[in-house]
Protein backbone atom coordinates (compact mmCIF):
# COMPACT_ATOMS: atom_id res chain seq x y z
CA UNK A 1 0.00 0.00 0.00
CA UNK A 2 1.17 3.50 -0.84
CA UNK A 3 0.45 6.47 1.38
CA UNK A 4 0.94 10.13 0.74
CA UNK A 5 -0.47 13.62 0.97
CA UNK A 6 -2.16 15.88 -1.53
CA UNK A 7 -3.22 19.49 -1.23
CA UNK A 8 -6.30 21.09 -2.76
CA UNK A 9 -4.91 24.13 -4.55
CA UNK A 10 -7.59 25.12 -7.07
CA UNK A 11 -9.75 28.06 -6.05
CA UNK A 12 -13.09 26.24 -6.09
CA UNK A 13 -11.83 23.29 -4.08
CA UNK A 14 -12.98 19.73 -4.66
CA UNK A 15 -16.34 20.73 -6.15
CA UNK A 16 -18.70 18.51 -8.13
CA UNK A 17 -17.03 18.66 -11.53
CA UNK A 18 -13.53 18.35 -10.09
CA UNK A 19 -14.71 15.40 -8.01
CA UNK A 20 -16.20 13.83 -11.15
CA UNK A 21 -12.81 14.19 -12.88
CA UNK A 22 -11.08 12.52 -9.97
CA UNK A 23 -13.62 9.68 -9.93
CA UNK A 24 -13.22 9.10 -13.66
CA UNK A 25 -9.47 8.93 -13.23
CA UNK A 26 -9.62 6.68 -10.16
CA UNK A 27 -12.13 4.32 -11.77
CA UNK A 28 -9.59 3.59 -14.49
CA UNK A 29 -7.41 1.78 -11.95
CA UNK A 30 -8.01 -1.53 -10.30
CA UNK A 31 -6.49 -0.35 -7.01
CA UNK A 32 -8.52 0.80 -4.02
CA UNK A 33 -8.00 4.52 -3.57
CA UNK A 34 -8.94 6.25 -0.35
CA UNK A 35 -8.89 9.95 0.44
CA UNK A 36 -8.71 10.83 4.10
CA UNK A 37 -9.41 14.19 5.65
CA UNK A 38 -7.79 14.03 9.07
CA UNK A 39 -9.18 17.23 10.59
CA UNK A 40 -12.76 16.01 10.49
CA UNK A 41 -12.00 12.27 10.11
CA UNK A 42 -13.89 11.76 6.86
CA UNK A 43 -12.73 8.90 4.63
CA UNK A 44 -13.86 8.75 1.02
CA UNK A 45 -13.62 6.17 -1.73
CA UNK A 46 -12.09 8.03 -4.66
CA UNK A 47 -14.27 6.05 -7.07
CA UNK A 48 -17.53 7.42 -5.64
CA UNK A 49 -18.36 11.02 -6.47
CA UNK A 50 -20.94 11.42 -3.72
CA UNK A 51 -18.41 10.06 -1.25
CA UNK A 52 -15.68 12.40 -2.45
CA UNK A 53 -18.01 15.39 -2.08
CA UNK A 54 -18.52 14.65 1.62
CA UNK A 55 -14.86 15.53 2.18
CA UNK A 56 -15.97 19.15 1.68
CA UNK A 57 -12.39 19.91 0.73
CA UNK A 58 -12.03 23.57 -0.12
CA UNK A 59 -8.87 25.33 -1.26
CA UNK A 60 -6.04 24.90 1.22
CA UNK A 61 -7.22 21.58 2.67
CA UNK A 62 -4.67 18.76 2.95
CA UNK A 63 -5.80 15.20 2.31
CA UNK A 64 -4.05 11.90 2.80
CA UNK A 65 -4.26 9.28 0.10
CA UNK A 66 -3.97 5.53 0.45
CA UNK A 67 -3.70 3.37 -2.64
CA UNK A 68 -3.66 -0.39 -2.60
CA UNK A 69 -3.71 -2.85 -5.48
CA UNK A 70 -1.81 -4.20 -8.47
CA UNK A 71 -1.54 -0.85 -10.23
CA UNK A 72 -1.02 1.18 -7.06
CA UNK A 73 2.12 2.97 -8.26
CA UNK A 74 0.46 4.33 -11.42
CA UNK A 75 -2.76 5.19 -9.57
CA UNK A 76 -0.87 6.96 -6.79
CA UNK A 77 1.05 9.09 -9.25
CA UNK A 78 -2.02 9.91 -11.34
CA UNK A 79 -4.02 11.06 -8.31
CA UNK A 80 -1.15 13.20 -7.04
CA UNK A 81 -0.81 14.73 -10.48
CA UNK A 82 -4.47 15.71 -10.86
CA UNK A 83 -4.38 17.51 -7.49
CA UNK A 84 -1.09 19.21 -8.40
CA UNK A 85 -2.63 20.40 -11.66
CA UNK A 86 -5.56 21.87 -9.76
CA UNK A 87 -7.98 19.81 -11.88
CA UNK A 88 -6.99 21.86 -14.89
CA UNK A 89 -8.35 25.04 -13.30
CA UNK A 90 -5.11 26.84 -12.51
Amino acid sequence: MLKGKVAVINRLGLHARAAAQLVRLASGFQSKIKLIRKDNSVIADAKSILNVLTLAASKGVDLEIEVEGEDEQAAFEAVQKIFKNGFGEL
Binding site: R17, A20, V23, S27, K47, I49, L50
Partner: protein, 141 residues
Protein backbone atom coordinates in the same frame (compact mmCIF):
# COMPACT_ATOMS: atom_id res chain seq x y z
CA UNK B 1 -23.16 -3.66 -19.12
CA UNK B 2 -26.90 -3.39 -18.49
CA UNK B 3 -28.03 -0.32 -16.60
CA UNK B 4 -31.18 0.50 -14.69
CA UNK B 5 -32.87 3.37 -16.53
CA UNK B 6 -34.02 6.56 -14.83
CA UNK B 7 -36.88 8.95 -15.57
CA UNK B 8 -37.03 12.20 -13.60
CA UNK B 9 -40.59 13.51 -13.47
CA UNK B 10 -41.61 16.86 -12.03
CA UNK B 11 -43.96 19.77 -12.21
CA UNK B 12 -42.49 22.49 -14.40
CA UNK B 13 -38.89 22.40 -15.59
CA UNK B 14 -37.23 21.00 -12.46
CA UNK B 15 -36.77 17.55 -14.02
CA UNK B 16 -34.98 18.86 -17.12
CA UNK B 17 -32.73 21.10 -15.07
CA UNK B 18 -31.79 18.34 -12.62
CA UNK B 19 -30.81 16.16 -15.55
CA UNK B 20 -28.84 19.02 -17.11
CA UNK B 21 -27.00 19.60 -13.83
CA UNK B 22 -26.15 15.91 -13.48
CA UNK B 23 -24.88 15.81 -17.05
CA UNK B 24 -22.67 18.83 -16.40
CA UNK B 25 -21.09 16.94 -13.53
CA UNK B 26 -20.72 13.41 -14.90
CA UNK B 27 -21.17 13.73 -18.67
CA UNK B 28 -23.92 12.66 -21.06
CA UNK B 29 -26.47 10.25 -19.59
CA UNK B 30 -28.17 8.10 -22.18
CA UNK B 31 -29.97 5.92 -19.63
CA UNK B 32 -31.67 8.84 -17.87
CA UNK B 33 -34.34 11.15 -19.26
CA UNK B 34 -36.66 13.83 -17.90
CA UNK B 35 -40.38 14.52 -18.19
CA UNK B 36 -41.87 17.88 -17.29
CA UNK B 37 -45.52 17.81 -16.53
CA UNK B 38 -47.14 21.16 -17.34
CA UNK B 39 -49.44 22.64 -14.75
CA UNK B 40 -52.37 22.34 -17.14
CA UNK B 41 -51.53 19.12 -19.01
CA UNK B 42 -54.27 16.54 -19.02
CA UNK B 43 -53.62 13.19 -17.37
CA UNK B 44 -53.70 11.12 -20.58
CA UNK B 45 -51.09 13.31 -22.30
CA UNK B 46 -48.82 13.20 -19.27
CA UNK B 47 -49.25 9.44 -18.91
CA UNK B 48 -48.30 8.90 -22.54
CA UNK B 49 -45.19 11.00 -22.11
CA UNK B 50 -44.09 8.99 -19.10
CA UNK B 51 -44.74 5.75 -21.00
CA UNK B 52 -42.60 6.98 -23.89
CA UNK B 53 -39.82 8.00 -21.49
CA UNK B 54 -39.82 4.60 -19.75
CA UNK B 55 -39.51 2.88 -23.10
CA UNK B 56 -36.68 5.17 -24.17
CA UNK B 57 -34.39 4.37 -21.20
CA UNK B 58 -35.31 0.73 -20.66
CA UNK B 59 -32.80 -1.94 -21.62
CA UNK B 60 -34.74 -4.69 -19.90
CA UNK B 61 -33.15 -4.37 -16.47
CA UNK B 62 -35.79 -2.04 -15.03
CA UNK B 63 -36.57 1.66 -14.77
CA UNK B 64 -36.60 3.89 -11.73
CA UNK B 65 -39.01 6.83 -11.78
CA UNK B 66 -37.76 9.75 -9.68
CA UNK B 67 -40.58 12.13 -8.85
CA UNK B 68 -40.57 15.50 -7.12
CA UNK B 69 -43.00 14.95 -4.25
CA UNK B 70 -45.16 12.18 -2.87
CA UNK B 71 -48.82 12.97 -3.44
CA UNK B 72 -48.17 15.30 -6.38
CA UNK B 73 -49.41 14.70 -9.92
CA UNK B 74 -46.03 13.48 -11.24
CA UNK B 75 -46.03 10.76 -8.56
CA UNK B 76 -49.68 9.90 -9.06
CA UNK B 77 -49.21 9.53 -12.79
CA UNK B 78 -46.06 7.46 -12.22
CA UNK B 79 -48.01 5.21 -9.88
CA UNK B 80 -50.11 4.09 -12.86
CA UNK B 81 -46.99 2.22 -14.04
CA UNK B 82 -46.31 0.45 -10.75
CA UNK B 83 -48.16 -2.65 -11.86
CA UNK B 84 -45.38 -3.20 -14.36
CA UNK B 85 -42.79 -5.40 -12.68
CA UNK B 86 -39.87 -3.49 -14.08
CA UNK B 87 -40.83 -0.06 -12.68
CA UNK B 88 -40.17 1.42 -9.25
CA UNK B 89 -40.76 4.95 -7.93
CA UNK B 90 -38.69 7.02 -5.52
CA UNK B 91 -40.13 10.40 -4.50
CA UNK B 92 -38.38 13.60 -3.43
CA UNK B 93 -35.74 13.59 -6.15
CA UNK B 94 -32.51 15.49 -5.51
CA UNK B 95 -29.27 15.86 -7.47
CA UNK B 96 -27.31 13.22 -5.51
CA UNK B 97 -30.04 10.67 -6.34
CA UNK B 98 -29.71 11.42 -10.05
CA UNK B 99 -25.92 11.12 -9.78
CA UNK B 100 -26.36 7.80 -7.99
CA UNK B 101 -28.32 6.38 -10.93
CA UNK B 102 -25.84 8.00 -13.30
CA UNK B 103 -22.83 6.29 -11.80
CA UNK B 104 -23.69 2.62 -11.98
CA UNK B 105 -20.50 0.63 -12.13
CA UNK B 106 -21.87 -2.84 -11.54
CA UNK B 107 -25.07 -4.60 -12.52
CA UNK B 108 -27.76 -4.33 -9.88
CA UNK B 109 -31.35 -5.48 -9.69
CA UNK B 110 -34.07 -2.83 -9.78
CA UNK B 111 -34.86 -3.49 -6.15
CA UNK B 112 -31.21 -3.07 -5.07
CA UNK B 113 -30.92 0.11 -7.09
CA UNK B 114 -34.14 1.50 -5.60
CA UNK B 115 -32.87 0.93 -2.08
CA UNK B 116 -29.50 2.48 -2.92
CA UNK B 117 -31.09 5.57 -4.46
CA UNK B 118 -33.55 6.01 -1.60
CA UNK B 119 -30.86 5.84 1.06
CA UNK B 120 -28.46 7.97 -0.98
CA UNK B 121 -31.11 10.66 -1.32
CA UNK B 122 -31.71 10.72 2.43
CA UNK B 123 -28.04 10.57 3.39
CA UNK B 124 -27.14 13.39 1.05
CA UNK B 125 -29.10 15.95 3.03
CA UNK B 126 -26.82 17.73 5.46
CA UNK B 127 -27.03 20.65 7.75
CA UNK B 128 -23.88 21.98 6.15
CA UNK B 129 -22.46 23.48 9.33
CA UNK B 130 -22.24 19.99 10.82
CA UNK B 131 -19.63 19.20 8.21
CA UNK B 132 -18.05 22.57 7.67
CA UNK B 133 -18.24 24.33 11.02
CA UNK B 134 -18.90 21.88 13.85
CA UNK B 135 -17.62 24.51 16.31
CA UNK B 136 -20.57 26.75 15.38
CA UNK B 137 -23.08 24.06 16.35
CA UNK B 138 -21.35 23.56 19.70
CA UNK B 139 -21.78 27.24 20.38
CA UNK B 140 -25.50 27.03 19.61
CA UNK B 141 -25.97 24.12 21.96
Amino acid sequence: MKKIGGVIISHGQVANELLAAAETVVGELKHITAVSIGWHDDVETAKNEVARAIKKVSDGSGVLLLTDMFGGTPTNISAMFLEQNDVEIITGVNLPMVIKIASQNKEMTLSEMSQAVESQGKQAIYRASELLMPQKLKKDA
